[in-house]
Symmetry: C2
Subunit: 206 residues, 2 copies
Amino acid sequence: MATRNPQQAAEKRRLILDAAVRVFARQGFHTCRVSDIADEAGVAYGLVYHYFRSKDEVLDTLFLERWDVLLDAIREVDRREVCARDKLYAIASFIVDSYRHDPDLMKVIIVEVTRAANSFGRSHLAKIREAYDLIAAIVAKAQASGEFKDTVTPAFAALAFYGAIEQVLTGWIFELLPGAPEDFDQAKAFVVETICGGLDARPAAT
Amino acid sequence: MATRNPQQAAEKRRLILDAAVRVFARQGFHTCRVSDIADEAGVAYGLVYHYFRSKDEVLDTLFLERWDVLLDAIREVDRREVCARDKLYAIASFIVDSYRHDPDLMKVIIVEVTRAANSFGRSHLAKIREAYDLIAAIVAKAQASGEFKDTVTPAFAALAFYGAIEQVLTGWIFELLPGAPEDFDQAKAFVVETICGGLDARPAAT
DNA sequence: GTGAAGATTGACTCGTCAGTCAATCTCGCT
DNA sequence: AGCGAGATTGACTGACGAGTCAATCTTCAC
């Protein structure tokens, strides 16, 4: 065989994926052309189709790669022997740190997949839902143990929690919210404080 | 002049707008063709361009019409002499009832504009932000009066509140959450209970 | 060194669709 | 009745961009 060694092939593929992240983040998935990705990666147009079946598959790959990491992280957090509030904090941390570490990638995943349930996200609804379900399970356990009130359903609490985080990331992405380094850590605490502690000054009447 | 009376013109325009809502909700803005809107409305292709400058303008119109109603509703709620928690409940009510009353329209606004900040929503960011700011102002006042804790910034609380509602609507839209009639009223209470009361069983240490 | 499998190239094809426009119709006035 | 402004029609154009493919180059086992 004269096949290039697998590592080199993987590197070329990565080169294209990384270029796609930058292009998608800058121009949006629908607005950019495949030639933009090829140019950004410094390869010929056709090579993108050597490594990927379609433009969609490039975005699919980016999303699935990262989302699986997120799901694993949530599962790992859930196995820790800490209270639910700390688990939620750890999850918020992971997501916020993902954004801090690679804002372009998170922007693409949120804007083009997670928040685009009508176009691209549709095919990934089941995968996205897995995350909600894992969070809901954490809430359910905390309600059973008495740590959380059971005034809201776990599914609902999970949606509110995830929705709040995603909205904050969206705020950063579109510069509706200051995104200075210190704001990242503050945001983690804020999400958990709001969702777990609530805004009310006086204790709940439960 | 042989101009048809203005009322008839307005009705034709409405006919097209209403058809567009159904088509956008069913197929998505980017996936549908202008001819789909014309067919749904039972008019010729070109007539759409007699009443609107472009396909974009149709969506623009739908969004702005409804969003202005929402902004007015929030302002009206804010003028009421009730506690902040009740104000937030009234806002959640308004949004949920908007969805109950016309799910297609709300689906279009959320999916194609509000959650599509990268494509279409970009040009409406300022308008969308107005809603956040109005909610943030309510929170700020409540913090000043001592009704709400000031552990989180108003801007952040507003994002979390709005994010939670939008995520719940999205859950209904994509059938991730049961959307039976009784769920609507429950959801209003859930959002406010989660954001104001928090999930924690024990009172906050403030 | 050589040959073949695989990598790389980019011009081209092909379908799609937003927006245009000239023709036709219809309403409301005189 | 007859006219003219505006309403309505739908075939057509022009741009665009995803995906194809035949040609060329590179690598590596022998």
